[in-house]
Amino acid sequence: MSGAAIEIAGLDAWYGRRQVLKGIDLAVRDGEIMVIMGGSGSGKSTLLSHLLGLLQPARGTVRLLGQDLAALTPRQLMELRRRIGVAFQSGALFSSLTVAENIMLPLEEHTALDRKTMEIIVRLKLEVVNLAGYGGLMPAELSGGMVKRAALARAIVLDPRLLFCDEPSAGLDPVVSSAIDALILRLRDAMRMTIVVVTHDLASAFAIADRMCVLDEGEVIALGRPDEIRACPLPRVQNLLNRRTPEAALDADAYLRRLLGEG
């Protein structure tokens, strides 16, 4: 498929005797935000690990920016990874480095820029993620939302063409979560990145997705624009959507109130 930044074809993955990905076919277009969503154990994280080249496919291919990951030498894979940014769910900031040093690390490793230029770039990236002035803090001194934003700043410091975000809103309150969503949209628009977001947070997924891929038990059960996913008649998709919608949360509140004798 032309214009695809990511192409996955017939991807199978196994953990021991359990098949966790079953013939995944997926293409992510250049410049779009693709949200991969599904419940716990649906295979999202395994799929992301394959996209990042951290796991080798049992069968099938994963192509990033036109390159088949399995065919690359370690050196070529390292080169490719310089054009990719990743923000992990936990942030994965290096605890012994300050926020600014964390963000500067890819610059130090992959560019020949002088220190002053690197500091300017770091300051700019911190401003992009609304963390200006926090560069001198250690990761342990940041709140959950700030860790996610610092991780995003580090992920985009080399201006990658592809950005992967693993559960960017997990563990955050709705306000901070919305701010992260807005930031992801801004990154796509300002930096023209292709962004893949893996999440189980439906509100966040519908807020940012150009297209969505719904995984269930290792299979792609729906793929399309948010409105198409919402209208998808498949029971497995509707079950997933209804389990997590705000309406479902309200039902749960009502149930709790009834249990407590308040309603």
């Binding site: 990042l52 390292m78 990743v86 690390l105 490793e109």
Partner: protein
Amino acid sequence: MKAAKATVAGWALRLGIMTVDALDELGFAAVLLAKSLYWLVLGRRRNQPVRWSAVVAQAMDIGVTALPILTVLAMTIGIMLAVQGIYTLRLFGAESRVTTGIALSLIREFSSLVTGILVAGRSGSALAARLGTMTINREIDALSVMGIDPVRYLVVPPLVAMVVMVPALTLWSHLVSLLGAGLIVTHTLDIGLLTYARQVIDALRLADLVHGLAKSVIFSVLITLVGVVNGAMVQGGAEGVGRMTTRSVVQALSAILVTDMVFAFAVTR
């Protein structure tokens, strides 16, 4: 009869699994060592040089900050060996020969052993805990996806620092333990410190010094690899970090003692 057969089969299976796991870990350690040497030699040519600032920081941590406790331990070992040696040789009326035994024992065996054990307990465990925490926080995955080789970034600096600092600490341990023994010998046998020093020099050959230092280099590689392998294998959060840190200390101490025994068999006999 059937139950006995099943039990034997169960043991055989467990033994097989343990053997495969052990070989797997040994292979991993060998790959780590080979990769570390690769980055040391070719890192600069590939524009990914070893971070010497990290090597210096690790060397400070492994070496300089260990000096006070090593001084105490080496002094203790020297004093103990002198007291025990004089007591034993007095039974044969040969206590005047004690310096030879002390010098050879300390330089060939005890100094490097004490230093290795101290570094394994102090820095080897810290390395395993640090890498284990990084593993569960996905910091090592983060390095990989940033195009930074984790071996070059995380393994080479402590390995180089250990290989430099453990022999240096061993040399310090030689001096302090000999001094500790000297205090007892000079006092008990009523000889001067200079006489004791001359006896020590007469008793030792260069080969004895090389013997102790060569062992300390091997210990330093073993401590690093054991720490890294255990740290990289951490699973299951903080509990897993604790478990593998303990395991790394036990394995490093075992590796040091077994290596020491092999050395003694191969070289001393």
